[in-house]
Amino acid sequence: MSEFFTTTAIVATLASGIRLSAPFLIAALGESVGQRAGVLNLGVEGVMLIGAYAAYNTALETGNVLAAVFVAILMGVLMGAIYAFITVVMHAQQGISGIGIYLFGLGITDLLFQKQVGTPKPIDGLQSTSVPLLGDIPTVGEIFFRHNALVYVAYLLIPVVWFVVNRTTFGLNIRAVGETPEAADTLGVSVTWTRVSAILIGNGLAALAGAALALEIGIFQYNLTAGQGFIAIALVYFGAWRPSGIMAGALLFGIVSSTVLQWKTLGIVSGSASSFTAMAPAVLTILVLVVVSRRIGQPSALTKPFDRSD
């Protein structure tokens, strides 16, 4: 244990914690937009996998990271269109259809990987770039300012999502259809289109989160996300639907994950004990939900389909 409490190990753990928090953060911010509009998307995990594979395969074929990110987002938006049709138009039960999307993503990415790639081939993923000046600060620079571009994007998304949801007409509409769709409808806000747009944004970001994951580690494999999408959904509850709260949750989970990894590398946990560290995020999620659930109410119309004729 003592080898963990050295400056180098702790700095490395914090830095990689921030890096690992990026996929959680991006996916959870996207999910929060959908939930504010009253749509629970349990398919985040599947869409993340699709985004991850799309990015991986594009990077493998073209070597162009920017194209990889673009294709991933495109695939996410496409999945979003499907999910929007299922939940907003067909009024399907959101929890269950999300599981359908998850299974689809899990299967289709494995299928395509086996068909198109076969054996694992590493790609040149995202390189870390040191922010000029800031990156040179000792310790602080190492922890905060020497990451790849998508990590910075993830953290820049926090104010962007906050601004869109709280300071624009579109954001007002999102919150209105998430709380009282009937009232929003009466005032001429299209519940359908507001929710569809929120879903498209959420799924685009979920796919981007998957891309961030795949491009960061430079490989793809079956079930690459390993439950991160589900945790991202829980983070939205953790963060009480606020971007700043979601950031705190993502950081917490990123650092927990990186600590677990660091302990494995240092040999502090090994063999069967790694099962306990692997379940730590899930247990933590449940505990966190117990603490936060009483405190704040969710959007009133969450998971409730809207139908004028009902």
């Binding site: 629970l40 349990l42 599947g46 499907i82 299922i86 067909m90 009024h91 399907a92 039960q93 929890g95 269950i96 259809s97 599981i99 359908g100 999307i101 998850y102 299974l103 689809f104 993503g105 899990l106 299967g107 289709i108 494995d110 299928l111 086996q114 068909k115 079956y222 079930n223 390993a226 439950g227 589900f230 959904i233 829980a234 509850y237 063999g271 069967s272 004990a273 099962s275 306990f276 692997a278 379940m279 995020p281 899930a282 247990v283 999620t285 449940i286 939900l289 117990v290 659930s293 009483r294 969710q298 389909p305």
Partner: protein, 376 residues
């Protein structure tokens, strides 16, 4: 939510109204599956395989001969058991996505019992391991139930997290405490007591007692939901928690009971999967849904397909079991990766869930039409 009961038509009772509803209830989900298979056909074409050959292989694999039928029935068992549990939970207005974890805990509890008292005669040991499975699943269901009732935690999220925890507990036990002693480190227990083997049913196939157990649980669940005061209370809570509370019902306790009962059914599935398996061991193969074979998720779809009625869930589970077993044959015939079946499974879930509203609308519409005609 979904309902198969016809609304009160006491003003103009009509024989047709009794027929139309269930007919639509049957046709729409079947159409949903056909539509999903059409998507599958596109996937097959994209993979350069012939959908016609593929689906012929699927049907052959599912019901081609008695062995195939038995395999289908074996595959349907856990889904039926989970599905029956889902009926109880959903009727109470609780979403249980924790079937996966509840199966695993049921399997672990049953295995522990079989390891503890291996010499008990079959007559006692078999009911005991099934009961242990039910207890394990019930505990794993009651926890998110209590969290929902007393701490306001969304059961959708907590049950998913409980799945992850259960999978890791299984992985730990099979790497550590329960691993078979020997040179090769495979994640499995030793062969469990012969006395706990579920006996094969006559007919010369692999079909075992678990099949009858699953049917029995479905019937018990039906009686429980519709013929007991507990079932009445659960349905009342599912229909309107506020009204139930006003009527003096214990809403919180009902939520815990529903999830515990739901988990118990899934737990029995876990026990059946261990003691009805060919290896008669608890095996973890790694991967997200390896031991459970996704039955915890598929059980939800099966239940929805059966209109959340335990008895209609029986044929629904057969349809799904057939599709999954036939899928193995399809995969063998066309040399496509098994992942196709997982993807197709997801498509079917999406289509079936999407079709439910269409079903309710059509049913309402057809009943209205019949009633109008009756008045003329």
């Amino acid at each position: 939510m979904v309902t198969t009961e016809n609304p009160d038509t006491s003003g103009a009772p009509s024989l047709k109204a009794l027929w139309y509803g269930p007919l639509v209830g049957l046709v729409v989900p079947v159409l949903a599956v056909v539509a999903a298979l059409a998507v599958g056909a596109v996937l097959l074409l994209a993979l350069g395989a012939s959908p016609l050959t593929g689906y012929a292989a699927l049907i052959d694999g599912a019901v081609g001969d008695w062995n195939a039928v038995a395999d289908t029935a074996i595959k349907s068992m856990p889904m039926l058991l989970v599905g029956v549990g889902i009926c109880i939970a959903f009727r109470t207005g609780v979403i249980n996505i924790g079937g996966e974890g509840q199966i695993i805990l049921g399997a672990i509890f049953a295995t522990l019992v079989a390891l503890a008292v291996p010499d008990l005669p079959s007559v006692f040991l078999i009911p005991l391991v099934l009961l242990a499975g039910a207890v394990g699943g019930a505990i794993w269901g009651a926890i998110p139930g209590a969290l929902k009732a007393y701490a306001g935690v969304s059961e959708i999220l907590s049950t998913i997290m409980m799945n992850i925890v259960a999978a890791q507990i299984l992985s730990f036990l099979l790497q550590d405490l329960l691993i078979e002693e020997g040179a090769i480190k495979i994640q499995q227990t030793r062969r469990l007591s012969h006395n706990a083997d579920l006996p094969l049913l006559p007919g010369g196939t692999r079909l075992h007692l678990g099949f009858l157990v699953a049917l029995l649980v479905a019937v018990i669940a039906y009686l429980l939901i519709y013929k007991t005061s507990l079932g009445f209370r659960l349905r009342a809570v599912g229909h309107s928690p506020d009204a139930s509370r006003y009527a003096g019902m214990q809403v919180k306790r009902s939520v815990v009971q529903a999830l515990a009962l739901s988990g118990a059914c899934a737990g029995v599935a876990g026990a059946v999967m261990v003691f009805g398996s060919i290896s008669h061991r608890l095996i973890g193969e790694g991967g997200a849904t390896a031991f459970t074979q996704g039955a915890g998720f598929n059980g939800i779809v099966v239940a929805l397909f059966g209109g959340l009625h335990p008895l209609y869930t029986v044929p629904a589970s057969f349809l799904f079991g057939g599709m999954l077993i036939g899928g193995i044959e399809l995969q063998r015939e066309l040399q496509v990766p098994a992942a196709l079946i997982v993807a197709l499974n997801g498509v079917v879930v999406v289509f079936v869930v999407s079709s439910l509203r269409l079903k309710t609308k059509l049913q309402r519409w057809s009943e209205d039409a019949v009633l109008r005609r009756g008045r003329k």
